[in-house]
C-alpha cells in the first residue's frame, strides 16, 4: 500500500497526543495531596480514644493521644499510618501496617515513608506534597493520616 508509513505516523501522533492530553486533563487537579474533602461523618464515625474538643485549641500542651488511620489500599499494596498528637500538634507518626505485592514496592515504600514522615511533621497535617516517584504510596499515606486526624478531631 502506498504511503503506509504516513498513515502509521499520523495515527501514532494522534494516539500519543490523545493519551498525553487525557493524562494532563486527568491529573490537572490538586497538586497538594490529601483527600479532597473531609467529611464530618468521617470524624464522627471514628472511635477516637478520648478526643476532647478543648485540646484542639491548645498548642503543644496536654496529654498525647494516638489514633490508627484506616488501612488504605493502593496499587502496589496497602498501608496504615498511626498518628500521635499532643493538643493539635502532630508529634509522632508511624506505619504499623505495610503490605506490598512485591519486594520492589516494599523497598520503595521503605525508602519513601521516612520522607513522608518528615513532610507530615513539618506540615502539621496531611497536606503534604508527597514524594515524586512514589505517587501512589504518598497518596495512600496522606489519606491514612487524614483518617487518623479525623478520628482525633484534629483539623
Amino acid at each position: 500500500m502506498r504511503r503506509a508509513g504516513w498513515y502509521l505516523v499520523t495515527g501514532a501522533v494522534a494516539g500519543f497526543a490523545g493519551v498525553l492530553g487525557f493524562h494532563v486533563g486527568g491529573t490537572a487537579a490538586p497538586a497538594v495531596l490529601g483527600p479532597p474533602t473531609r467529611t464530618p461523618a468521617a470524624s464522627a464515625a471514628g472511635s477516637a480514644p478520648a478526643a476532647t474538643p478543648s485540646a484542639r485549641a491548645g498548642g503543644a500542651t496536654g496529654s498525647a493521644r494516638t489514633a490508627a488511620g484506616s488501612v488504605v489500599q493502593y496499587g502496589y499494596g496497602q498501608l496504615s499510618v498511626t498518628v500521635t498528637v499532643r493538643g493539635s500538634q502532630i508529634v509522632a507518626v508511624s506505619v504499623p501496617v505495610l503490605h506490598t505485592i512485591d519486594q520492589y514496592s516494599q523497598q520503595l515504600a521503605e525508602q519513601v515513608i521516612p520522607m513522608l514522615r518528615s513532610e507530615v511533621l513539618a506540615a502539621h497535617g496531611a497536606q503534604i506534597h508527597g514524594v515524586s516517584g512514589a505517587t501512589y504510596t504518598s497518596e495512600a499515606y496522606a489519606r491514612s493520616i487524614q483518617s487518623a486526624l479525623d478520628k482525633l478531631h484534629v483539623r
Binding site: Y7, V9, G11, V13, F16, V19, L20, D102, Q107, T135
Partner: protein, 462 residues
C-alpha cells in the same frame, strides 16, 4: 469425469463469469488505511502511557532510567506482538487489500521487533530494580522470579518467545521442515498468554488504572476472538457448508496434477480469480497440515479445481489422493485479483505452475480486455493448462507468448519485454511463479518505469 465436460466447452467459448457465481467482495483500501491509522494510534498511545507513568524525579532516582526504558520497551514490544497476531488473524477486510502475501510480509518484517524489545524489557527492568535496591543483578533476578507476582511464568513465556525467534532466523529456519516450523511457531500464542498476567499485576500504567486495564484486556481478548473467528470458526463453517470431496486427480504435465473436487453450494463461494485456499486433505497422513494452492479455475458448481506441482512432500502426496477423500478449506485469500488493476489493460506473466493463478484471473477479465500473457517454461510440457489459457485469451482478443527454453535463450530484459509488449505503459503487470522469477520480473518492471502499484505478484515460496 464431469469436470472435463464442464470445463472444456466453457474455456473454448471462454464465457464470462457464470451468472450463478456471486460477485466477490471488492477490496476497500480505505479500510486498510483506517487499520493503519488505528495501529499507529495504538503505538503512540502505549508510548505515551510509558512516558506518563514515570515522573521526572523517578527517572532521576537510582535505576530510574533503566526502569523507564524497561517499561517503554515492554509496552511497545507487547503492543507490536498484538499487531503481529492481528496480522495473521486474516481479518478479511484487510486481507482483501494487502493479500495473504502482504500480511505475511508485514508480519515477517515486524517479527524481530517485539521479540528483541521484550528481551530488552526484561533486561532493563532487572537492571533498574537492582540499581534501585542496590543489590547485584543476579540477586535481583532471583528476587523477581521468586517473589514478584506472575513474573516467573512471564519469564517462561519470554523464553519460549526467544527460542522461536532463534528458530526463525533464516539460516536455521531453512533447515526445518515447513510443517515443523509452523507447529513450533504456534507456541507463540502460549508465550503471549503466559506473559499477559504480569503486565496487569505490575505495570505502572495498569496498576490502579482501571481504564487502561480494561482497554488492554479488551484489545487482547478482541484479538484472540478475531484469530478464533477467522482462523478457526470461518474455515470450519465454510468447509461444513461446501463439503468438498475429491472427485478426480488428473495428470496435467510432468509432476503436475489437477485435483477436481465436488461440493455443495459452490455458487455461494465468494472467490475471485487469482485467489487461493489453504487445503486440508482429510487423510490419515495429511489431515494435520494445510497448504496454500491456487484455484486453477473459478468454481463451476458442483466442481472446484486446484492444480498442484509436486515440489514437496505434501504436493507429491496430493497426486496420490483417492477419490472420495474429504477436503477442508481456509480462504479464499489473496489480493492477486482483477480488483488490483490500476491501468486499462493487463500483462500476465507466469512461470511454470504459476500459470494456475493467471488461469482463474483470466476468467475474471471482461471480453474486451485484450490481455497479453507470457508463459515461461524450460520444456514445452512445462506449460501446463496452455490450451485453456489460449482459449480464454483468444476469447478476450488478447495474445499469448509461449517462451520455451532455458533462461538464457528466453531472456526477459529491458529490450525483449517492450518488444513483446509495446503498449506496456498502459498495462498492469501480474506475475506469478517461483520466487526468483517473480523478483526478476518485478525488478525489470521497475527498471522499465512501471509504477510499483501497477505490479502485482504472487511468489511460490517453497
Amino acid at each position: 469425469m464431469g469436470y472435463e465436460s464442464v470445463v472444456a466447452p466453457r474455456s473454448r467459448q471462454g464465457r464470462k463469469r457464470q451468472q450463478a457465481l456471486p460477485e466477490p467482495r471488492r477490496p476497500r483500501p480505505a479500510l486498510a488505511r483506517a487499520g493503519l491509522v488505528a495501529a499507529g494510534a495504538g503505538l503512540g498511545a502505549v508510548t505515551a502511557l510509558a512516558i506518563t507513568a514515570e515522573t521526572g524525579a523517578e527517572f532521576r532516582a537510582a535505576g530510574g532510567a533503566a526502569t523507564f526504558l524497561g517499561s517503554l520497551t515492554g509496552l511497545v514490544g507487547t503492543y507490536l506482538a498484538l499487531l503481529m497476531v492481528l496480522l495473521v488473524s486474516r481479518i478479511p477486510a484487510i486481507e482483501r487489500v494487502l493479500g495473504q502475501d502482504g500480511l505475511l510480509r508485514w508480519h515477517r518484517r515486524l517479527a524481530p521487533w517485539p521479540i528483541s524489545l521484550l528481551l530488552a524489557h526484561a533486561l532493563f527492568i532487572t537492571v533498574g530494580y537492582a540499581q534501585a535496591a542496590r543489590v547485584g543483578l543476579w540477586h535481583q533476578v532471583g528476587v523477581m522470579l521468586s517473589s514478584y507476582p506472575d513474573v516467573l511464568i512471564a519469564t517462561v513465556g519470554l523464553g519460549i518467545m526467544a527460542a522461536i525467534g532463534v528458530l526463525s532466523l533464516r539460516a536455521i529456519r531453512r533447515r526445518l521442515r515447513r510443517e515443523t516450523w509452523w507447529l513450533i511457531h504456534l507456541y507463540m500464542y502460549l508465550a503471549l498468554a503466559l506473559s499477559f498476567a504480569h503486565v496487569l499485576a505490575l505495570g505502572p500504567s495498569f496498576v490502579g488504572h482501571p481504564l487502561t486495564r480494561i482497554v488492554w484486556s479488551v484489545a487482547w481478548a478482541g484479538t484472540a476472538g478475531l484469530v478464533l473467528c477467522y482462523r478457526f470458526g470461518l474455515p470450519v463453517v465454510r468447509s461444513m457448508r461446501h463439503r468438498l470431496v475429491v472427485a478426480e486427480v488428473r495428470q496435467e504435465g510432468p509432476g503436475v496434477v489437477s485435483v477436481i473436487c465436488t461440493g455443495r453450494n459452490l455458487d455461494k463461494l465468494p472467490i475471485t480469480g487469482g485467489q487461493f485456499f489453504f487445503w486440508r486433505f482429510l487423510t490419515r497422513s495429511m489431515w494435520w497440515q494445510a497448504h496454500p494452492y491456487t484455484v486453477s479455475a473459478l468454481p463451476q458448481p458442483p466442481y472446484l479445481r486446484l492444480t498442484v506441482k509436486a515440489v514437496g512432500d505434501h504436493s507429491a502426496a496430493v497426486a496420490r489422493l483417492r477419490p472420495g477423500t474429504r477436503v477442508a478449506v481456509e480462504g479464499p485469500y489473496g489480493a492477486f485479483t482483477k480488483f488490483a488493476q490500476q491501468r486499462p489493460q493487463a500483462l500476465l506473466v507466469a512461470a511454470g505452475i504459476g500459470v494456475t493463478a493467471l488461469r482463474s484471473l483470466l476468467e475474471d477479465l471482461p471480453r474486451n480486455a485484450a490481455p497479453v500473457v507470457l508463459l515461461r517454461g524450460t520444456r514445452p510440457e512445462d506449460l501446463v493448462l496452455r490450451k485453456e489459457v489460449a482459449d480464454l485469451v483468444r476469447y478476450r482478443r488478447g495474445r499469448v507468448h509461449e517462451l520455451v527454453g532455458t533462461r538464457e535463450q528466453m531472456l526477459l530484459d529491458e529490450r525483449s519485454l517492450p518488444r513483446l509488449v509495446p503498449d506496456l505503459h498502459r498495462r498492469d503487470i501480474y506475475v506469478c511463479g517461483p520466487e526468483g522469477f517473480v523478483t526478476s520480473i518485478v525488478d525489470l518492471a521497475a527498471r522499465l518505469g512501471v509504477p510499483a502499484e501497477a505490479v502485482h505478484h504472487e511468489a511460490y515460496a517453497l
